[in-house]
């Protein structure tokens, strides 16, 4: 494995050189900021690569898990909105929550009542009716609550808790969301999981965008607190560096844990399932339960990375979550790094993110130059050049994915080649 080790060292050295160039060109403060964001993406990439590499799951809704975790973090860490707690808001919400819990419990009980001898013909419609009544009751309770909250206090505010706790809570909620989705969708084929996760992500984003009482919607919430002293205390470079050390520690911890698990009996079983699920099942392994584990764990890690990313940005803006930046960019990182290859994921994330960051000014520069040239030569007056320049990045990401898959399709499967016939 000597050559492999040297190759890895070489790649990281090249990456370091590339980063140093960026530092020289754009300044230390900017460079450190880029590194922090890249490190958050590294966490995201780790979470995604284990889903694909360990369990063969195609999660096309990473954005949803990031957004959900970011919201939880925002809610937990943003300072308390005293006006909210003094208004009728909490009571009204509590009532709605009560309806939700009672209704959900009733629905689940009725759905499962077949076990206690209730005929199926009665149980299913009863459960459906219970679900409908719950939905109506909850929406009718939330509406006045929402209106009151927005009028009286703007939005619910936060709980003012420590930031790292917020991150962990975000990871936990992302994991729970993954559990619910996974229970429903993981028994089906991967193509369907992709569609389902895509849909979930859009729904999560829609909820966060529209429920102003919860998130201020398009008005956004800022500033989000940091786990380390902020720029006004330590200056840009030092505070960002402190943030970076925190995320770096997280990366190392996750990496070490994953590597140890992979080489343990649990990892061997996961590999057996990944390489030949039918055989594993015949041997009595519960394939779907293991896949669910990976799905939950992977998305919890993604939640952690997402929380760190949004906290760093300092602003919670539901519209800032896009499938491009928060799902497919990470997929490119995972594909380039080699699926299931944890070190590769980290490398892929750092490398791709640096290129991504550089591509924005590069694209604008190119389009500006082309626009000027076009104006001189053809008398063009193209409008909205800026936004079109950014579309170039979308195209390039798509092209990257297509080309990598085209020329190295087998490269996606890390250790063993599985030919599907």
């Amino acid at each position: 494995m000597q050559s492999g080790v040297w190759r890895n060292v070489f790649l990281f050295v090249c990456l370091a050189a590339f980063v140093l160039i960026i530092f020289r060109l754009l300044g230390t403060a900017y460079g450190v900021r880029m590194l922090v964001e890249a490190s958050c993406y590294a966490i995201l990439a780790l979470g995604l690569t284990i889903q694909w590499g360990y369990a063969g799951l195609f999660n096309a809704g990473v954005m949803g898990f990031i957004a959900a975790a970011a919201f939880v973090t925002m809610f937990l860490t943003f300072p308390v909105n005293v006006a909210f707690w003094h208004s009728d808001g909490p009571a009204l919400l509590a009532r709605a929550l009560g309806y939700l819990l009672v209704g959900a419990a009733a629905t689940v009980l009725l759905a499962r009542s077949r076990r206690w001898g209730v005929p199926g013909l009665l149980a299913t419609p009863a459960a459906v009716v219970a679900a409908i009544i719950t939905y109506i009751a909850v929406t009718n309770a939330v509406e006045p609550a929402a209106a009151h909250i927005v009028a009286a206090s703007g939005f619910v505010g936060g709980l003012g808790l420590p930031v790292v706790l917020g991150w962990l809570a975000g990871a936990f909620v992302a994991g729970c969301l993954a559990w619910v989705i996974g229970r429903i969708c993981l028994g089906l084929q991967s193509d369907y999981l992709a569609i389902a996760t895509l849909g979930i992500a859009e729904i999560v984003k829609a909820v966060l965008k529209n429920e102003e009482w919860l998130t201020r919607g398009v008005l956004t919430v800022s500033p989000l607190p940091w786990p380390v002293p902020g720029p006004h205390e330590l200056g840009f470079v030092l505070s960002r560096a402190a943030y970076l050390s925190l995320t770096a520690i997280i990366i190392v911890l996750i990496y070490v844990l994953l590597e140890r698990a992979w080489h343990a009996p649990w990892g061997r079983m996961m590999r057996a399932i990944r390489d030949n699920a039918t055989a594993a099942e015949a041997m009595g392994k519960d394939v779907n339960a293991r896949r669910l584990e990976i799905f939950v764990l992977g998305n919890a890690i993604i939640g952690l990375g997402g929380a760190a990313l949004v906290s760093f940005a300092g602003i919670f803006d539901p519209q800032s979550f896009t499938p491009l930046n928060h799902t497919f960019l990470i997929w490119v990182m995972v594909i380039l790094g080699g699926a299931g290859n944890n070190l590769g994921a980290i490398f892929g994330a750092l490398f791709v993110y640096c290129i991504w960051v550089m591509s924005e000014p590069a694209a604008l520069f190119l389009f500006d130059a082309a626009g000027n040239w076009g104006q001189e030569v053809f008398g063009w007056e193209p409008s909205d050049l800026q936004s079109r320049a950014l579309q170039m990045r979308v195209f390039v990401i798509g092209l990257t994915i297509s080309l990598v898959l085209r020329f190295a399709p087998r490269g996606l499967i890390p250790e063993k080649v599985v030919r599907d016939e």
């Binding site: 063969g56 195609f58 096309a60 009718n140 429903i184 969708c185 089906l188 084929q189 991967s190 193509d191 369907y192 992709a194 569609i195 389902a196 895509l198 849909g199 979930i200 859009e202 729904i203 829609a206 909820v207 965008k209 529209n210 491009l324 497919f328 997929w331 594909i335 409008s383 909205d384 936004s387 079109r388 579309q391 170039m392 990045r393 979308v394 195209f395 390039v396 990401i397 798509g398 092209l399 990257t400 994915i401 297509s402 898959l405 085209r406 399709p409 087998r410 996606l412 599985v418 030919r419 599907d420 016939e421």
Partner: protein, 333 residues
């Protein structure tokens, strides 16, 4: 009465329009499922690309509007359909076929289609910008008002593109039926969908069937995208709102079954229209009959318009959980 007309305009006519669009997209998706056995995520962007081709054609030949009385985009639709078919075949040759030949899992093909989606989206917005444009370039949309013979009632409103849409989908479905049941390649397509190994053994040329699949899928996508854009406007983020519904329609109808996709399109389209409709409007006339303590809320829709996307998603998940084979008992992949 006026409320009933409102219902007809928004739910019945609106439902038929959006259902037809979903159905045409879903038929293409389900055929790709049947023959190529993967979820073609880039299909909604093929619809946008088709509309873009129509726009370019309409801008290039503005004289057609005056000459024929019909919008250029519609007259030149067959050309746009052909261009989109060529685009689809080109994408297949460049990005999907090599993966097929390498024998990868279908999930990898789905990933490739996402790469294609991003490329199409980026390229379209690069050239056309991000703002909506009308597809009526040299003429105006004809709006037909059918007066209802009741006092004070509003008119039933049907637009020219809506008529064209219904006409197109009718012709398309009949043509597809004839193709699948009367032509050699059509039957070969059904055979390959049934049993690809036996099709190979019988000497059926799978490449020809693959071409036919992309041609039909691309042409239908172009028609749907163009006609929808004629009725509303060409929005570059068209694909975003179409992807989930057409997949829901294809899966509801049974994967691999074109007639199922047709039915699925209407199921999803009408479910959406009915769910988003403000039912309190229909209840208004009977307000005087109700006791005073019953107050009808102003907004009585099942979901609000911002959450419209929940409807096809919910249908999708419900079908996958309770009846994965769909209405027409298609494949479960």
């Amino acid at each position: 009465m006026s409320e009933l007309v409102f219902f007809i305009n928004y739910v019945v006519i609106g439902g038929v329009v959006i259902s037809s669009v979903y159905a045409m997209g879903a038929i293409g998706v389900t055929l790709v499922f049947a023959i190529l056995r993967f979820a073609h995520f880039a299909h909604a962007d093929l619809m946008t690309a088709g509309a873009m081709f129509s726009l370019v054609l309409a801008v290039t030949f503005p004289g057609i509007d005056a000459a024929t009385g019909l919008p250029a985009a519609f007259v030149l639709l067959p050309v746009a359909m052909a261009l989109t078919a060529v685009l689809a075949i080109g994408l297949d040759r460049a990005f999907y076929r090599p993966l097929r030949l390498a024998g990868v899992r279908s999930v990898v093909l789905v990933m490739a289609s996402i790469g294609v989606t991003l490329m199409l989206q980026g390229a379209i917005r690069l050239f056309a910008g991000i703002h909506a444009r009308p597809l009526y370039v040299a003429s105006r949309k004809d709006v037909y008002r059918i007066p209802v013979p009741f006092e004070g009632a509003r008119d039933i409103v049907i637009t020219e593109p809506q008529i064209m849409l219904v006409a197109t989908i009718t012709v398309a479905v009949i043509a597809l039926h004839l193709f699948l049941t009367r032509t050699r390649i059509g039957k070969a397509m059904r055979a390959m969908s049934d049993n690809p190994d036996l099709a190979r053994i019988s000497g059926i040329n799978s490449e020809h069937v693959v071409w036919a699949t992309w041609i039909i899928g691309g042409a239908l996508a172009a028609a749907a995208g163009t006609l929808l854009s004629l009725d509303v406007a060409l929005k570059p983020d068209l694909s975003f709102n179409l992807l989930l519904p057409i997949f829901a329609a294809a899966i509801v109808g049974g994967v691999g079954k074109p007639y199922g996709a047709l039915v699925g399109g209407f199921l999803v389209g009408f479910a959406e229209s009915l769910a988003v409709f403000n039912w309190s409007i229909l209840l208004r006339p009977i307000t005087p009959l109700l006791p005073e303590w019953i107050e009808i809320p102003r907004q009585l829709a099942v979901v609000s318009t911002e959450y419209k996307i929940v409807v096809p998603f919910f249908i999708l998940v419900a079908v996958l959980v309770w009846r994965p084979t769909g209405v027409f008992r298609g494949r479960i992949l």
